[in-house]
Symmetry: C2
Subunit: 402 residues, 2 copies
């Protein structure tokens, strides 16, 4: 096995050049803890950077977030049975392995477009309809639509699905090509239900490891887990559950519209109190630095807590560390409407071992009292069981369908 | 004036860091000829890179193409008169100057989002309706819808407009913020008619100066002008015409759907003969290297020309060098349709001093005989007069409205 290591990339991931990988299977994702906010970027063009495909877990979860993501959900055609699902999953696995490693898909009609994966990852999840079509009733209890929340204004167009794929890369051209290959594979088995395209700051535009800013102007993701730590592993990977899900996780995907017209009317102080952090640098209102621990007990001169009761960081932060979720969200922007109002929001994606034990209690607390609710509206919602990874020769879903 | 030069960036543009520019006006765009395909990328994060705003020409035309572009067209509200147009153009000029230099727009509600322009450029053009609203009849003869071509299947949704803006950056977050500020400015004057969002390979993913690949898999843009050369200047900048357009240019914007289902059925040889170039490296069928001159007279063993009569490069290449256009196009991708078919294409953008003398004859030749027509369908079309640039203290359109 000849893997040419290129050194530490911008975001602290050891990446391997495509050139050294032709036809070679690689091991589990290699995530290095090395991080630096200051060292200059010494990389060659990053188009050929690859993230290993095989391993105990699928890539695209503990992978440092790429700049672009497309999420697509599919509805299975009525005639598709277990045999069809096996064919689809084997096809997808083979092509995901090829494309993420910079090789053309099977019968790729545009093989040159596969040359620059730019850390392409392809991550597959299944919904309740997938298990039903397979004739299985071995679903985790949380694999169902989320309970209704008062803030929700869900649209069918952006919700549900029997099957989903998350395609991420630092180059949007790689995503277009991969999405096209995967949706061609799926055609005889399923219809596309929805597609959500998201972005963050372009790779290399911000210092390594910097928390990205969302379209409300806030640093978003400060208090998130760190892949590779025991806390992250406990938070994200499924250890108890049906056999076919051990090493997998769950994906909660919510399309959250930002009510920018309302948000614009709020003063800077009002915005900072809504969030609980400063807009300039993301420091909690009780601290000096983005990564300072918020002091929820601190009070101001007149006796009110500095971080208000209804602030987002107070409501979102569980007392029980077991309730944490790992967020990997993206911005969306459909461009201004005819009246000039923005049509933007967040493709909120969180991974957690148990939706009911982790995501739901947090969301319930936010639903009860979180001023940010006034400025954001969930318009889509879906839950998927993210399959564990596979080793060379295996395929995604083998433990479920094989 | 203190401009901190950061050295030569990936794409051969001398860029100035935001930090050295606070509140300082800078001169005409500085485009350096320095190009290298091999030297390592030694840049700091590029989010703070700026392209100068002021100069004889607007930026975003001879600027090395950024990775992302959003084009938006506006229809003026019926009550808007010359006074309204002046207010709008002064507002836009002021905010374009600020945002492109990494400073918040006037009354920016999210000033932090302005910090990382990543070579943001904002380029303004006007359509016939703009001149009518201003009560002027001093339009160049080419400022009207293009003549009908046989291949066109134009949709009103993607065509026309009284006013247009092109917003480009290497970071899509910068574009979202700038588009939002500009459309807020425009609200009391105009409605958004259409928005087209495009992308190329991410900045830094491919070697400096490499020709990008489009979503048909071909290298697209090999034979394009070189900014800063006398040929480019003659091709692009208006020297003869109404006074208010001297130093300006014209923008032809065409939304061109790619018929990927048809293209997929073509063999590699068929695709290469359709284009006249090799898919692997973009070399003409008569050459070895992308930048070799095509030999249109070369014949094969059985006496046919190697580059067929109906190939795109033969049809697109004018005999008259005066007919050349400067292309600055982007890909679009709306994600797969429910049936899994791709909804992708090109936001084709070309700049030329005279639409009738340059763009139209090329397009007529392509319309008559160009096999690529079978696989591409223009579904949108618009023509704008791109205003000349302005100096500090001036504003875009001053010579027209002032």
């Amino acid at each position: 096995m000849s893997v040419e290591l290129r050194g530490v990339s911008r975001r602290g991931l050891l990446t391997a050049g495509v050139s050294g990988l032709a036809g070679v299977a690689v091991g589990a994702p290699i995530t290095a803890a090395a991080e630096s906010n200051t060292e200059p970027d010494l990389r060659a063009p990053f188009g050929t950077d690859v993230v290993p495909f095989h391993g105990a877990h699928q890539a695209g979860i503990d992978t440092p977030a790429q700049a672009f993501a497309t999420f697509a959900a599919f509805d299975l055609l009525p005639e598709v049975d277990q045999g069809g699902l096996i064919r689809l999953m084997r096809l997808w696995t083979g092509n995901a392995e090829r494309l993420t490693q910079g090789r053309p898909a099977l019968a790729d009609t545009d093989p040159e477009l596969a040359r620059q994966p730019a850390r392409l990852t392809i991550t597959v999840g299944v919904g309740p309809g997938f298990l039903a079509a397979a004739g299985l009733d071995d679903a985790p209890s949380w694999l169902r639509p989320l309970p209704e929340f008062g803030v929700d204004r869900l649209e069918e167009t952006w919700s549900g699905g029997d099957l989903a794929v998350q395609v991420c890369s630092d180059d949007p051209v790689a995503i277009s090509h991969a999405m096209r290959m995967l949706s061609k594979d799926a055609r005889t088995f399923a219809e596309v239900r929805w597609v959500q395209r998201g972005f963050r700051h372009a790779s290399g535009s911000t210092p390594a490891g910097a928390t990205p800013r969302n379209l409300m102007g806030q640093l978003d993701g400060t208090s998130n887990g760190t892949p590779g730590t025991p806390e992250f592993d406990a938070q994200v990977w499924i250890r108890d559950g049906p056999d076919w899900l051990i090493g997998g996780t769950s994906l909660v995907l919510r399309r959250i519209r930002i009510e920018l017209e309302e948000w614009d009317l709020v003063s800077r102080l009002g915005k900072e109190e809504t969030i609980g952090r400063r807009l300039t640098d993301g420091a909690p209102l009780t601290g000096d630095d983005e990564h300072d621990e918020p002091d929820f007990d601190a009070v101001n001169d007149i006796g009110f807590t500095v971080i208000p009761d209804w602030s987002h960081i107070r409501r979102a932060r569980p007392d029980d560390p077991g309730q944490r979720i790992f967020r990997r969200s993206y911005n969306y922007d459909e461009g201004p409407a005819p009246d000039g109002h923005a049509r933007t929001g967040m493709v909120f994606a969180s991974f957690q071992a148990d939706v009911d034990a982790q995501f739901v209690p947090i969301q319930r607390r936010l639903d009860e009292l979180d001023l940010l609710n006034t400025y954001t509206t969930p318009i889509g919602s879906a839950v998927f069981a993210v399959l564990p990874g596979c080793e060379p020769g295996g395929w995604l879903g083998e433990a479920l369908l094989g």
